[in-house]
Point group: C2
Chain length 535, copies 2
């Protein structure tokens, strides 16, 4: 009998089959979002590759609408990076969970080895077509087309041509259906604009489906530092992480292992450890470390005073750059930029939070210029996060702030733009689509503190502007009555009206020195209010 | 030079490694949530297994706190299902993407083949321990302990004992750290309570860390129908799905393939198809179907009038059961239960939406009895969804309703509880943690329509209650003055005061027949207002 045994259908599946059935987990749900996801995957790969190869990144995205009804588009992504070697083209673009990023402790936008292969998948299941790749790598230019064998999660690669040539870079051409281009805040244009804001060293060219060319020019001619692998910080390490590190270690003794593996580990710290753990043999092979020992070591880590994690390997956008970008787009009445000190979360993973808060000017307005409501621009390692705001640690932090304390009736309707970037060697995204950051307490707290720091500065600004405006307003109101009052007093006292008026005017001018006020206000409204986060 | 070539570090990874590094994607973030996730995975597996084996499900969850500081708990889950055969114990509990559910078109709570293996993983990375399993399957009772080899995503299984015995079922014992039990709305108690509400055929016993025993008794002694695989509906099928079905088909001709594969496919429908597609050979081997042909077939599917998808294979909770459950917990002043007709979303996948709306009584109150705000209880295939509400289609629908149109000033503060369940052979969860449903337009719309239908009934109730209350209030106000007015009129007219008072009373009683009003109101407040969704 069919199905009599409920286990007769027991099967194993590949990760490619899993994401094929659950494409929404990679960001392929909704036509606009699907297109933005594709561009996101290609652009972040290009930025990562250029930074690793120490190249000033140029990236071009071209969208062509092939059929409106079915949402059929061709996407071409070109960069000037190092290209991909022939033997890895299939794995990089047609196999899930393969790549250089997943296992390394290094700050990059991609970190899962899924993204570009996910686009190949989406192309394949919506159009049945292969994805075309042209790679210029170390003197060779190779054209290939590829897709994914879902059963095995391996790439099928067909080489189309090989030639010698100096050009380096990568061109990917893919066709998909069920997508849509628009200029909404979750669309490709806004995505690229925000990418440019957070990556001033990058030149982005966007050719939209109407063949209009939009250029987001490079504003800094400096290659950002090449991201480096970093050593984990002992604080916050979990037993399991320590076991992993120890068991794949090549050092001969536990002593050496500690030195080589962790940041902030000095002679005296290892000595402290040894004193706290007399029952553990520090000359033993780290591969033979047992769980209970690792457990004790983790507890001992918590008892030692450590220097904060190093910022090596973490590259925030930078205060000056955030300032420049926000002034350019928002022309705010007031601006504060906060760069928090590095902190760590679960597993000893360091991260840095940056907060820019613009108030007034075009802050809180949407792209079309309408006053809408406050705007929160979220970034993870400089990549814009446009979706799933509701489940993101950043929005949780924004909501947790008591904005009334900072002089706002309602944050929602205030003319505020918050730009928040989290930099880390591993950002804990809630899903493979990498659009929201999990609510790790340390991250939520840090973002919250950053916002509060910026909000305090904003409050001082709002108060001073409000007070000055009030003084000017009062003075004007009083001056409005001065002529009538002077005439009435003149009638009662028989003193000439103009004398009384002069006297009263003088009195008022003395009490309300509005020349100073007006100058202050003008400064506050124009640039004086744009503090540098230091005052 | 180390790292000179950025590709020297290119590696492939297993899906187990992926989720180990990204445990938050499986719901392991936050101490309370992690514990609820564990219970969720075990309980849904037990419910699914019992339904497949046609057994009335008994499930017991026991939590023991072993160490408060490290959040060290032991979790024991026991059910009376069919157990697991020896050769599959490792795969079912120690290998990701393996199981009976992923590839079948069948309504179950689990659908990914990740859940229980995810718990084994979490136990392993927080305590280094194995998970113990006792399985009674077809006369054999087997004890084993197991964990995951992360490199290969295979289980390590050690059999501890084997014996003959009639007991059938599954007992899983696992230890984890970094979790916490509390009675919050996202905790285990609330999770089990809601599971009981949506699964009245199940007896749930919960032994909390204080050794208190909570029993959620079975309220229906009827085994729910065994879920059956269903055939997909032609409407909404994507080309890629059709290619998949055709290429793994065993029929000899396309003609046969259509009959066997799809629901609602009749002789006349296949004839219509043939007429629309004269260029396609319906006698060809389905394995040889080409993309362009599949594309044409999909377009032809859209042109034919189909009968709506069958409800076979989809098992909603049922109107009566929702009614009983909501009256039991909420004692609402008003209740409407809506069961919508089946609809389909992407890929021809049918689903059914059920909406219960309770107003007044204990509606909108939290567990501790405080009036908090409106409450939305989300369910996917009868499993409670407690997390990630912000990114869920259900909440999106609730927000999209203009509640003012239904007589509410603000939905947020109204004494309302919404219970919404989506039943489908494949629910498009946003993540592997299965806590939010992706915003597929068809699903958002259906839930919205269901809510609006319920809200219209609520509005009628609110209006009638409000009007009746107003009439009673007016009458009382007038009666308050009648004595004084009668005396004044008596003084002016010399007619006896009591005569005037009698006359006026009679007049008022005629105009405001409050005996009827009071009776109506009483009925509306007690049970008359609890409509059956039909009026």
């Amino acid at each position: 009998m069919k199905n009599d045994d409920q286990f007769s259908d027991f099967k194993e599946h590949s990760v490619a089959e899993f994401f094929k059935k659950n494409r929404q987990m990679l960001g392929f749900s909704g036509k606009v979002r699907s297109l933005t996801t594709i561009v996101h995957e290609y652009v972040t790969n290009s930025l990562d590759a250029a930074e690793e190869a120490k190249i000033l990144c140029d990236v071009t995205i071209k969208l062509e609408e092939l059929d409106k009804e079915t949402g059929h588009y061709k996407i071409t992504a070109e960069d000037n990076g190092s290209g991909i070697p022939e033997n890895l083209m299939g794995k990089a673009l047609g196999q899930m969970l393969a790549g250089t990023k997943f296992h390394r402790y290094i700050q990059q936008r991609g970190q899962q080895g899924i993204g570009a292969a996910g686009v190949t998948m989406y192309s394949q299941i919506t159009t049945g077509k292969t994805t075309k790749v042209t790679s210029g790598y170390r003197g060779k230019i190779i054209e290939a087309k590829l897709n994914i064998d879902f059963k095995t999660n391996k790439a099928n690669v067909e080489i189309l041509s090989k030639e010698e040539g100096d050009w380096h870079g990568l061109i990917i051409e893919t066709e998909v259906k069920d997508v849509k281009y628009d200029k909404s805040v979750s669309g490709v244009y806004e995505y690229l604009k925000r990418t440019a804001i957070a990556n001033p060293h990058t030149q982005i060219t966007f050719i939209d489906p109407n063949n209009e060319v939009h250029i987001f020019p490079r504003s800094i001619e400096k290659i950002p530092p090449k991201p480096e692998e970093v050593k984990p910080h002992p604080l916050g390490m979990a037993t399991n992480d320590l076991m992993d590190f120890a068991h794949r270690d090549v050092n001969k003794t536990l002593n050496q292992f500690f030195f080589e593996t962790f940041s902030r580990m000095s002679n005296s710290k290892v000595k402290e450890l040894r004193e706290l753990l007399p029952h553990i043999n520090f000359k033993k092979d780290p591969k033979k470390l047992e769980w209970s020992e690792a457990d004790d070591i983790i507890r001992a880590f918590q008892k030692i005073k450590w220097i904060a994690p190093s910022v090596d390997g973490i590259y925030p956008i930078g205060e000056e750059q955030i300032r420049t970008s926000m002034i350019n787009i928002l022309e705010p009445e007031f601006l504060a930029v906060i760069e928090r000190k590095p902190k760590i979360y679960r597993g000893g993973i360091p991260f840095i939070v940056e907060v820019g808060l613009g108030y007034g000017g075009n802050s809180g307005r949407n792209s079309s210029g309408d006053v809408s409501s406050s705007d929160v621009m979220r970034f993870g390692n400089r990549a814009p996060l446009l979706f799933d705001a509701g489940g993101c640690a950043i929005n949780e932090s924004v909501k947790s702030v008591d904005w009334k304390r900072y002089g706002l009736k309602s944050m929602k309707d205030a003319p505020i733009t918050l730009m928040i970037n989290i930099s880390s060697v591993h950002i804990p995204y809630t899903g493979a689509g990498k659009q929201a950051i999990a609510m790790e307490q340390e991250i939520v707290d840090e973002v919250r503190f950053g916002i509060m720091e910026a909000a305090r500065k904003m409050q001082a600004h709002i108060q001073s502007v409000v007070k000055t405006k009030e003084r000017i307003h009062k003075k004007k109101a009083i001056l409005r009555y001065i002529h009538q009052v002077s005439e009435d007093l003149s009638y009662l006292s028989n003193i000439a009206s103009f004398e009384i008026e002069n006297l009263l005017s003088k009195l008022i001018e003395e009490k309300y020195d509005t020349k100073k006020d007006e100058k202050e206000l003008e400064e506050a409204m124009q640039n004086g209010g744009i503090t540098n986060g230091e005052n």
